[in-house]
């Protein structure tokens, strides 16, 4: 008798569990927006502030998928996202030119920095322009840690290597982590290596890192975020109205004002600078 009682108790518990889990999988589809974005916008906490405001205002439910910019655009290219918030301008232009995205609009910027151990074994501190610092790294023995993950930061890094006329692949001083920005910074810190990072992630993690800013303030280091709507003409299942609403929201005055002050209380300086309405050609001037 005791045995069957136990079994009944377990069955009852499991039934309760199942009832609790009875989701309606097919919710009002058009109320869902898939936002495919880079990790920095999520890891910095910016989206945690913005999305609840947007959801409250419009009634949409935003599914934020934080991946590298490369993967974000790959999702858009397959029609598996509705709107993108990314920072990989060259790839973005290709994406839009290929007809996968429409209405690419400038949202904000911050900048990339080259960080490394305070001893700075290869003496790159203050090197100008950034290309020179990269050339020095290539001639030294200290490690350079690359994201190696097709993210916006990785694309930027590859662009700088190209400008320096260096192919870092398979070099002894070059390692690819294949990880996100935060983890790559940790690896660089542990291995006393150099890496390229976005300022926001660096500031957020600074207290746990033994890395200093060595190169900054160069036009090539500009980190520009754009919002792109996935082209519904290409993929009829895309939530075009939702994507448009989110993109409009990102460039609205309300959001731009929040971006302006976001992070000041925690880091002493803003993590992003609002740019809506500006022209890309004017950036960095």
């Amino acid at each position: 008798m005791k045995k069957s009682k136990t079994i009944h108790a377990i069955l009852a518990a499991l039934t309760v569990l199942l009832t609790l889990t009875a989701w309606s999988p097919v919710q009002a589809q058009q109320k869902n927006i898939i936002l495919s974005t880079t990790t920095s916008t999520q890891d910095s906490g910016l989206l945690d502030v913005l999305i609840p405001i947007f959801e409250k205002k419009t009634g949409y439910f935003v599914k934020t998928i934080a991946v590298g910019s490369g993967q974000a655009m790959a999702m858009g290219q397959k029609g598996e996202a509705d709107v993108l918030l990314v920072h990989s301008p060259a790839a973005e232009k290709k994406f839009v030119a290929g007809g996968y995205g429409i209405n690419r609009r400038l949202v904000m910027h911050n900048d990339f920095i080259v960080v490394g151990p305070s001893e700075d074994p290869t003496k790159i501190k203050g090197a100008k322009p950034t290309v020179e610092a990269f050339k020095k790294v290539a001639s030294g023995t200290a490690l350079f840690l690359s994201r190696g993950d097709n993210s916006g930061t990785h694309a930027k890094e590859m662009g700088i290597w190209k400008a320096a006329g260096i192919n870092p692949e398979k070099q002894k001083w070059y390692q690819q982590t294949g990880l996100g920005m935060g983890q790559t910074l940790n690896v660089a810190s542990e291995k006393k290596g150099y890496t390229l990072a976005d300022r926001g992630t660096y500031l957020a993690l600074k207290k746990n890192l033994s890395l200093d800013i060595l190169v900054e303030g160069d036009a090539i280091l500009l980190n520009i975020y754009n919002v792109i709507e996935v082209n519904p003409a290409k993929w009829p299942k895309v939530n075009a109205a939702g994507g448009r609403a989110f993109a409009d929201f990102m460039v609205s005055k309300e959001v731009q004002d929040i971006v302006k002050t976001f992070g000041v209380d925690k880091f002493g300086s803003p993590l992003f600078f609002p740019d809506a309405g500006k022209k890309e050609e004017d950036m960095g001037k």
């Binding site: 989701w23 599914k63 934080a66 598996e80």
Partner: protein
């Protein structure tokens, strides 16, 4: 070391203040992994028993496939489930990608071979003569299967623990098919990954500790049932 201590403090702080976000994440972990385990029990035990009790050509191949399935990498499962559930994928009409339902599907796929493999081993470990004996006493085949499953309940409970342990601690598939969406599909493991990359190591450690406590609690209950029924 200081960090770990801070993490432990944070874990208890979050637990005792009943932090609503952490509570939600913990409950969702339990719901998703519990439901996935339940589904895996259904398929795992029934198919495992069937394979254990029947002879058919290619049986060895099937058994070796099931045993290999016990080592199914969660990220690979996550990748395939994602591709199937894409809007434009074969199961896109379901519209469940980036929902807890998708996480249940992926976790059930991970847990099923675990339960199946252990069921198979457990039923096969029963003495062969037992079957004949049960049949000789006039039981129908169905009754015989039921009695055998009941006989094997102790190792089967080990299968439940292995299945549940496999999915509650899994992160690769959950983050891929669930998307780690705040307040919706964020579970303990995916939240730990995110807090680590955000540099909030104390919160990450705290979430890890809560996960361990949860796993311990579930296994404590299951072990209690298992050991009480141990043949003496």
């Amino acid at each position: 070391m200081e960090l770990i201590f801070e993490g432990i403090l944070k874990a208890f702080y979050l637990l005792f203040t009943l932090d609503p976000e952490v509570l939600g994440i913990t409950l969702l972990s339990l719901q998703v992994s519990g439901t996935a385990t339940l589904i895996s029990l259904f398929f795992g035990i029934s198919i495992g028993t069937l394979v254990a009790l029947t002879e058919f050509p290619g049986r060895r191949l099937v058994v070796s496939l099931i045993n290999t399935g016990m080592a199914l990498p969660p990220v690979v499962v996550g990748l395939f489930v994602t591709i199937f559930l894409w809007r434009n994928g074969p199961l896109g009409f379901l519209g469940i990608l980036y929902t807890p339902a998708a996480m249940i599907v992926a976790q059930a796929v991970i847990a099923t071979p675990l339960v199946m493999g252990i069921t198979l081993a457990a039923i096969q470990a029963l003495p062969k003569k037992l079957r004949l004996q049960i049949l000789a006493l006039g039981a129908t085949r169905l009754q015989m299967v039921w009695i055998l499953v009941k006989e094997a309940r102790l190792p089967l409970l080990a299968g439940v623990m292995a299945g549940f342990g496999g999915v509650i601690s899994e992160v690769g598939a959950s983050i891929m098919v669930g998307g780690n969406i705040k307040g919706y599909s964020r579970v303990l493991t995916t939240a730990t990954v995110m807090e680590t990359s955000r540099g909030n190591f104390d919160v990450a450690i705290a979430l890890g500790i809560i996960l361990l406590l949860l796993a311990y609690f579930i296994n404590f209950v299951l072990t209690h049932i298992q050991q009480r029924e141990r043949p003496r």
